[in-house]
Amino acid sequence: MALEKHRHIIMECVSCGLCQSNCPIYKQTNLESNSAKGKMTILFALLEGWLNWDEVAERMYECTTCKNCQATCLSGLDIPAVVEAARAELVKRGLGNKISAQLVENMQKTHNPFGEDPKARNRLKELAEA
């Protein structure tokens, strides 16, 4: 499993929380599960068998992989590499990102990623011209 390769990083996280300061997701939610600290705790619990893959999926997709956390991390840990490895495993297990799947489906059905009627664009054009 790709995540096993990163087990040492998950272990090296000391739960200090320095990574909260510039995480764009955590800053919006103030929810520890969204910070790198929370993610490493969640993945640690997953590897120990205290959580299942389907329980962690949503939280693993709530990350932009921006690496801001690495910049402030007490131990300089490459958190996005761990998150990406977790995502790869999730996809293998049929737990891909529901939002990505929805975007693809929307594109196929309506040619618009948000599933809106493409004609709506014409209304914008009309408004702009008016």
């Binding site: 272990m11 090296e12 200090c16 103030n30 929810l31 599960s33 993610k39 131990s75 300089g76």
Partner: protein, 485 residues
Amino acid sequence: MSGTIKQLIQVVGETNVVSAKVDRIAYSRDLTPYFAVPDAIVFPMNTEQVVKVLTLLNEKGMPVTPRGGGASFQGSSLAVRGGILLDLSRMNKIIEISNEDMIAIVQPGVRYETFEHELQKKGLTFPHDVGSHDAATIGGILASDSNGHHAYRHGRVGAWIQGMEVVLVDGTILRLGTRAPRYNMGYNLAALFAGSEGTLGIITEATLKLAPRMPVEATVGAFFKNLDGLINASLAISMSGIDAGTLEATDGYTVKTISDVMNLGFPTCEGNFVGDVQGFDEENLQRKLMVMERILEEHGGEDITIARDEETINKLWAPRLEIDTAIVKVHPGYREFGFAAADPCVPLSKQAEAIREIGRIIRSHDIIAAVFCHTGIGIIHPAVLIDPRNKEHWVAMKKAEQEILEYVVGIGGVVTAEHGFGYVKNQYVRQAVGSIKLELDKKIKKLLDPKGILNPGKMGLDTEERDSDVGFIYKEYVTDQEMTE
């Protein structure tokens, strides 16, 4: 539990109660080896909601553990008895910054650096820069009576509380102090709540004294072949009357590890010194720097560097701050743990001896040690860096912890001077403060929290054990009970 959660949702709203297992687990750790999962996390948005939540939980007799950023070193904000983790981080408004009164009024969830950033725009500072930076909240800093990096110059945070709003366990709102700089009106209860680690009430607002931001500053670094020279230099700087901001030391083993791993080319030494100093103008700063440089030289300081640019400043601070980054490069999977000997304090004249002896004690158990010291104020921070999958390392950490604390008390020092007792020091509390003080503390606790629901299991107040009511991150962890078997 589900009935209580429904009632809590009625008070704070659905988005402010979190009870999914994955999220509860994300709140189960801090730097200590413990794993303590709360039953739910509740985020109040204002004082009124704190009042209602506490009233409800006090009626039910359910444990409530206050939490700010959760950056505690000592298990202080872990829900060791389960129940509700009361997370104040969403009460994060800076209500007012006043240059005229030199105060700020803030909610408890305001983050330290975010606050400083706003103060900076107005030429002010709240100079209690804890090493946990933006992970720390003002509520957590006050409730821990924290000791920032500039505590040498500015002291502990408690003295900077001009006013406070505290919600007591029965929902009563207690207001202490005002915008006026001083009051002397009976017992100083603000000082009691500062450092109470969330065991007596919830801080919902604080009026904080501010200081002017000094316009110029410099960082000074030096290496010493002999730790006595370093400590004497630090003392001479204090005696010179220079109001340095901070004076710090790192032991030679740590300097070498960091230098080797990060390729920094530091000279061989028994200790590294780093400090900073501020001035109200360039001339004032230069005069202080001249004296500091001379003192460092006279006491055997080598490679003395004065830095004003970020890159050199970071290099000078590397011995003090980069051990965690360095260690994982040479020992993958190793890490630091919050243990009970993380923050003792010794008489100033014993600092050199204590840095040496504490390092020796830890290394004598075949584990890696890094030893730091706030040399102006006698606080020593030993760090143990271990492989958590190795049972022997846990045994070594616990033996070293006990020996360090015995040694420190033996030379006239104290068990804890920065992080407080939290959970990890429960079994050392009586020995540290004596039975008379501990029993008095218990009476104060009983008066303010008769059912003992506020942050239970901490500060030796309702148990003098650790390891007995909590889970562990690593199955290899060796409990106190196993140590005595």
